[in-house]
Amino acid sequence: MAFDFFQKISRAPTNPHAKPTTREFDVADLYRGPVDAGEAAPGAAPGLDEKLRQAYFWIVNKAIISPHYDIEYNDGPAQTFTVGDSKRVLTLPSGQSYSSYVLLPLLTFATRRKCLFVGGPGRGKTASAILMGVLAGVPVRDVRRAMQHGHPQMTIADLLGNPLPADMVNAQTMESIRISWRAWLSMRVKIIDEYNRIPTRTQSALLTVMGDNYAEVLDQVFECPESSWFLTANDDQGGGTYQVIEALRDRIDVIVQALAFNPRFLDDLLVRIEEDVRPEELMPPELIFSELDVDTMGREVRAIAVPEDVRRRLEFFASQFELLDAAGGQFEYMTKDTARLSGVDWRDITAADTGRDRMKDLGCQTRNGVSVRNLMTLLVYAKALAYFRGNPAVELEDLRQVLPFVLRDKLHPDLDAPFFAVPEHAPYRTDRVSWLRHLFDLSNAEFLRLNLEHDDPVGEMAALFAQGLDGVSERETRARLVKIEKLIASLTKGKKLYGHLYDDLLKLKYLHQRYTNYLAWLRAQ
């Protein structure tokens, strides 16, 4: 008999939302209750978002022992306790909260992105990755066989496949050499265990598969299907046998940390030993997602709205970090990327960065800015989290919760910055997730202080331009140009240059240029 405990999944809505629909009471409810009487559940099959939640709750309740609820949501005030000499705060969230270690991989699965599990040995990183493979309907045995284990001798042929020996001898042209591709390349959930033990040259081949979704050996190309990726590493900071190439790290969308096992859950481990069960082998079939399910889920996630007020917060946050006015002579080149490309020592450049309040300026806390890829990933995961929570639109809290996991390895702290020298900020030197969340909170506080929620003249100018130029007269165009110039003058008069202002000015310059071009065209008519 199968160990039934692991087969049980949540039957009730896992995140019930009150729907103002016509009331219909199902008299068949009378026979639904604590024991199985063979009465079918009401209505059609649950939506894919509900199925995803069921999968989440099955994993946290049955498969992953001692989950940590670090993605906190509140419906009203939360209960907090100040603990210890360090005055750390323990929060009891008042809303349904989640474990990042399970949720982020699930969202990765739903959106077919790339997730890296990090943490010490024996914390279940590989087991969690295998669960994601099983969720896609692949038998556990096949998932295990298809998993790539990084090791120092791993060659490109080990990773991608070998040319057929007979063809190597007989072929007259490269095109006629057939390749025996590795089975994992065609799988929709790809698992690379200990990817930081793969030699650098093989990492480059892996980069092609991860980045461009194809594999190449001896001029032969294998097109891989769209898939989600799960990688594991004992250390995401460049440890392992080989340094991970930057481009490969950049392809990883989220990083989740396997937190420590709580020995209070030892009895759960004991059950597994005594019953000789592995949860991944007992996943209920109702939780398996077909290829079509994942395709549909991807479409539904993309359809989740990002309201303008949420988008503005992200814009404001992202605009904090790229500016480094000491790095460039021309306005457009005053960026950290210019400094990085120059190869000049970081400290030399930041020493010349004067005039701003380096404690207050959020940009001073990082050594780089947020890339386009990072922003797109952030939006995808924020949408996915809203979808998972059964909401039609992204809330600010969704963005706040996914941001640290997306930017963990992307936004690098400048540990020499004054912010990190403050004793209360010492934990942020080691805890990237908390630092990034704190950074986003600071950005939001600044956004509210500047009253940008209600007074955003640059946003208004952009919205006006977005209405199109059809029918805009020469006179009106000139008026808008003057308005932009006046706005720039008022924004810059007597003010120091911060990241968000820098981006606003560049946006105004863009609008000015578009109107200038339009004016030239009008006059040529």
Binding site: M1, F5, A18, R23, V27, Y31, G33, P34, V35, A37
Partner: protein, 306 residues
Amino acid sequence: MLKPAYAGVLAAGRDQYNARMREAQRRYPMLSHDVFRAFLDNAGAIVDAVAPERVQPVVDSIYDLGLALAGRTLIGPAARSPVLQDAWRTLFPRFAILIAREPAQVLGMLSNAVVHLEAIPGTRLTQWMDDMGALAAQVGAVDALRAVGQIAAWRAGAAHFRAGALAAAAGLPAPLALAALHAPDGMQVDALLRQLAGDPWWQGGDPHACRARSFGAFTGFGGPFDAPPTVKPDGDGFLVHAGGRAFFLLADAYGASLQAATLAEFERAEPGRVPTTLAHAQACANATTIAITSPFTHAIRLEARS
């Protein structure tokens, strides 16, 4: 003391039954051996009533259901009430023919129904059991049992099952439907169903039916409202607002039941006020029912409009 046939099945499957018990103990930490043993004794009347060749599957079902019920403390000293245990002893054996045919389904349905009705405040579980016991001899199929149980549940006070119960009654053989609905002498099924559908407060000589009732009380006294409620009509029922929470109330001649609603629904609803001469009281009405509330009481008075 178990009868030999019953004890024989348990003894023959000792290893398997012990394994199920071990598994259930993992799943239900509250599972008590004593409670489960008493349950098996209690279910002896069912086993005694089924044909010998069906004893094995019936015992299998009793065993598994017993583990689930005992594990969830729905039976035994820790249970909310002894009703379910009583039902297994007194009511369920009367459906022995059906149990022998579909043991897991019938025992599961009946157990779930008792648990479900027990959880609805104001329902008359004893009346439901009496009705079911009285109709048992006429129920020859699981579908008929399902419909009869639904009708009896509605008549026992689960007002939100009214529409579903009437629909179920329409699918029953006429004599069984008339008996389940306690029809007045000489009344035809079609006419009876029309009458019940048209007037939720129709009594038809049924002693359990009435044309007015009070519903609700202060939470401190076990009621659902922590402040005197206000109501607005909404379809067949009323939206109720009390102490920052909203509910949906359905009432008819046999009872009243309260379901969850949202504050937004309450705010959207029209007041639907009707005049009243009662001092400090407010009245509103839907097509069939008048609801009267007062800032001095946590109860809602519901009366037939016609």
